[in-house]
Amino acid sequence: MDPLAAIRETFFQECEEQLAELESGLLAMEGGDRDPETINAVFRAVHSIKGGAGAFSLEALIRFAHVFETALDEMRSGRLAVTADVLKTMLRAADVLADLVRAAHDGAQGDDPRAAALADELKAMSGAAGEDDGGEEDWGDFEFKPQLVAFEAAPAPTGFLVRFKPRHDLYAKANEAALLLRELSRLGDAQVELDTEDLPPLGELDPEAAYLAWTVTLNGDTDETTIREVFEFVDGDCELEVTPIGGAPADPPAPDFDLSALLARVSDGAADDAPAGDFGAPAADGPAAEAPLADASVVELPLAANRPAPEPAAETQGLGGHRKSEAGATIRVDLERVDRLIDLVGELVINQAVLAQRVMEAGLARASAVAMGLDELEQLTREIQDSVMAIRAQPVKSVFQRMPRLVREVAAMTGKPVRLVTEGEGTEVDKTVIERLADPLTHMIRNAIDHGLESPEKRAAAGKPAEGVVRLAAMHRSGRIVIEVSDDGGGINRERVKSIAVERGLISAEAQLSDEEIDNLIFMAGFSTASEVSDISGRGVGMDVVRRSIQALGGRITINSKPGKGSTFTMSLPLTLAVLDGMVVSVEGQTLVAPITAIIETLQPKAEDVHSLGGHARVISIRGGFVPLIDVGMALGYRPEPLSATSGVALLIEGEGGARAALLVDAIQGQRQVVIKSLEANYRQVPGVAAATILGDGRVALILDIDTIVAVSRGELRKAG
């Protein structure tokens, strides 16, 4: 990828983060959060997007971001009251901004009529409707002067000393020092002085680095805000000091809260050590304060290069320092590198297991130095594996955050007022799981609103509040992540579900089904309960697709529905797709792995508990109940005749929907964590087999797909019965 395209890509990645930040901030405010830092964060997000868009000349995006930012600024300064209506508009503006960012990403540059309409609303809100249409000219309205008392008392400066030193990033982001100096020189009579102090000898020079600094003496009718605006888009990518000269007050302009300074502090430059102290530095400095105010002294002003950079601690405003530590705390790493690392660690785990097996085979004592060393190695390997997995772990927030917008849109389309409640956003799960959660979740939430919630009239009739509630919750439960989507609607209409299933030939009219089985019918392919295919859910994607995508992730989905109270869809997913805790078993000389999460208990079947139903179908009685007994060897075609139940071991498992079955295997070898190797990626999908792994002795073992095995044998059981 050429460097500019790479920078552009980074910009869009950052935009996504900013958009998420923006939305969560606005939602927090909707929830009553009035922390000024929240408003600042929201403002900062839009501002950063505008800044980046400026660098890439994304006009439509700049224009809208600018109007949005202006409105947010009004809100930040307290001139625009934070009301529910205002926040609703802001949230819609955030949606439009997200669309514009995506459109820009795809290379579209046209004007979005929605953006124009919303821009007008925003302008009306910020009282700027009467002004021009938000070109660069009106960027000056940002200027706000709450503390100007101090300034006005002091003589106005006759000019400014601007010291500007680009960093590498400034050039790397395709900005140009010459253009900035050009802009600056338009503000008045400018005298440019070049500082080549840091310039290395030609042989050592990196032509793409930044070494030069400039000091511009600017005389004319301008102010610090205007000067800083010139550098707005390179904020964080350069060192910048603006010092008033000739009439500068000797005292620092106290808590100088004008916008540009605030921008300088809060603006989200690329992660770097931006000594945002630049604005805090000037007047407080001894020599400047002592210098006579005559402009002759100006040249004597010490420049940043000649004195220690201001300590972040010296900043009166802690924000800059705060951001600094934040910026240093994260790095952006290409996902491929992490995947490669995970793959290698997987190999390491296997290798370590192989080694352990060899040591066992060599007959070395458990207490021998080699065996002990190996134990330590195993510990370490485990830790490395956990740490590497943790790199990939991300809070589900990134997916949850997309949902409020979806809810707003679906609510608007269906005309049902909906409130989305999210819980457990910080719950962490592997990134691949998160990525693949977005589609099923989107569909389930659409369903919950479209099919789950009743119309406002029906709700009123049922004595429920008009506003429906959709709850999205995530939690960790016994080594898995559980995600629940629930609504407080009417629950599943089982009568109708059943009659539709009969109508579509999915079940026979005489079938006796439990409530749970009826509920599960909605997961059958081609099932749709909406009498007319609606715009929202009826896009040819049914709950069957949702279930399949959850199963593909090694997860399960269950429904719990109460008539009149609502439905809850519960998804249980593995935390990672890379490793699995498994029960290693033998079947007909083959080694197989059963995922431990599905196993409830293991038992030795007694002859009197096993009952034949004719054919090869058998059931086993466990504590008074009967569950099907499935011979894994038969199910996978390892043997033509079933194993005698008493000579094997049964694994009592719970499949999807909570249905139980007992899997009969020859013997249990033990329990161990295995590294999952995709069978689909390396061979092809095999029914009854979820994936494969490599064991300590180097042999490949298949990982059982328990749900498929149960489903297949259930079908046979039905045939037999």
Partner: protein, 99 residues
């Protein structure tokens, strides 16, 4: 003494030109050099860095380093960036055409 080596500067001395210019200058290090600036339409900070470092290097080598025929835009760019001394005397800076 050999004729000074002449290098014709590219029309756009922006960030992408800094690397090639740097290499080009390193190749002719040790001999007198004349840079022809007639074609230059714009000058960026990074190319200026290369030119300034080269000027110093040539001075250290005791070799002649000269910029000739600067286009008005080039002369203006040098002046704007505070490096007007690189342009031969008598070249008035013209308005920089940039928009």
């Amino acid at each position: 003494m050999t004729e000074p080596k002449t290098i014709a500067l590219a029309d756009s001395l922006d960030m992408t030109a800094a690397g090639p210019l740097h290499r080009e200058l390193l190749e002719v290090r040790g001999q007198a050099v004349t840079l022809d600036g007639a074609a230059v339409r714009r000058l960026g900070g990074q190319c200026l860095q290369v030119l300034l470092a080269a000027e110093t290097a040539w001075a250290a080598d005791g070799q002649a380093f000269e910029i000739v025929n600067p286009s008005p835009e080039f002369a203006d760019g040098l002046a704007l960036l505070g490096a007007g001394h690189l342009a031969p005397p008598g070249f008035a800076a013209a308005p920089f055409v940039q928009d």
